[in-house]
Amino acid sequence: MKASVIVFPGSNCDRDVAVSLEAAMGKKPAMVWHGEADVPACDLIVLPGGFSYGDYLRSGAMAAHSPIMRDVAAKARKGTPVLGICNGFHLLTETGLLPGVLMRNASLKFICKDVLLKVERNDTDFAHRYAQGQVIRIPVAHHDGNYFADEDILDRLEGEGRVAFRYCDALGDPNRDANPNGSRRNIAGIYNETGTVLGLMPHPERLADPALGGTDGKPMFTSLNEALH
């Protein structure tokens, strides 16, 4: 697999995700500056976490209009898989590649902790190394992670099986207590119509090596590498 990580001014998880990708792929991903016009030919584009453009105006709003995003959107629409983590998820909603929006956390607090997620689907390039319904532990670190969309869109996401991950308890129950940020229907991540674009608030790259205290994030990168050869 060949991967490209897009780097914006204010990205701060670009190197972490590059390490996780390299561990899975056996080679380094291309690091592509946001001012470039084109993403090099690759099998996966990653929009990393961070605070692109200082979150000015809205999280992801500025970066969504940076030169590279035109090509990211064009390639995504042609089927190139795109993984957006945290601020990368903001960017995917701001560019319209995914529906809805990430609002300020209901508690108004920045939340930085491990959460439990239920794997809603394992029949995708991103998640086939997980078991269906598996509960995994992945960290979140965000101020704006409160997923919002109107009821029609939420129903469509559910109906089309596009919820990727849900905040849940240890038994996999997506209840209110397990919801860290007020997200509608405990949604932590969603797919586009074709299952080729994934946006999620939790950071799989932050628990993808035993040295980090856990490896529940690792199967996502292994899945991608195996699926996108």
Partner: protein
């Protein structure tokens, strides 16, 4: 020409910041505070002096960047420089 733009949350979209402000006002002893909604205010100076074309420009600015139309509405006033 100067545009004075207000970005507000749509009805039905929960506004936790507005709620926190209402609580803080109550804590300060301001009675009778109902719902509080927080938004953004943006001023933009435009070279354009034609009202009709400036209106179109500002609307496009709001829809493409300044507001997230999923959750926000915008309104604006134009003022002759």
């Amino acid at each position: 020409m100067k545009a004075r733009i207000k970005i507000t949350l749509k009805n039905g979209v929960l506004d936790p910041q507005g709620k926190a402000i209402a609580n803080a006002l109550g804590a300060l002893g301001f009675d009778g505070v109902g719902e509080v909604r927080q938004g953004k205010y943006i001023e933009i100076e435009l070279d354009d002096n034609d009202r009709t074309s400036a209106e179109k420009t500002v609307a496009r600015m709001c829809e493409q960047l300044l507001a997230n139309m999923v959750i926000e509405n915008y309104s604006y006033e134009l003022e002759d420089a």
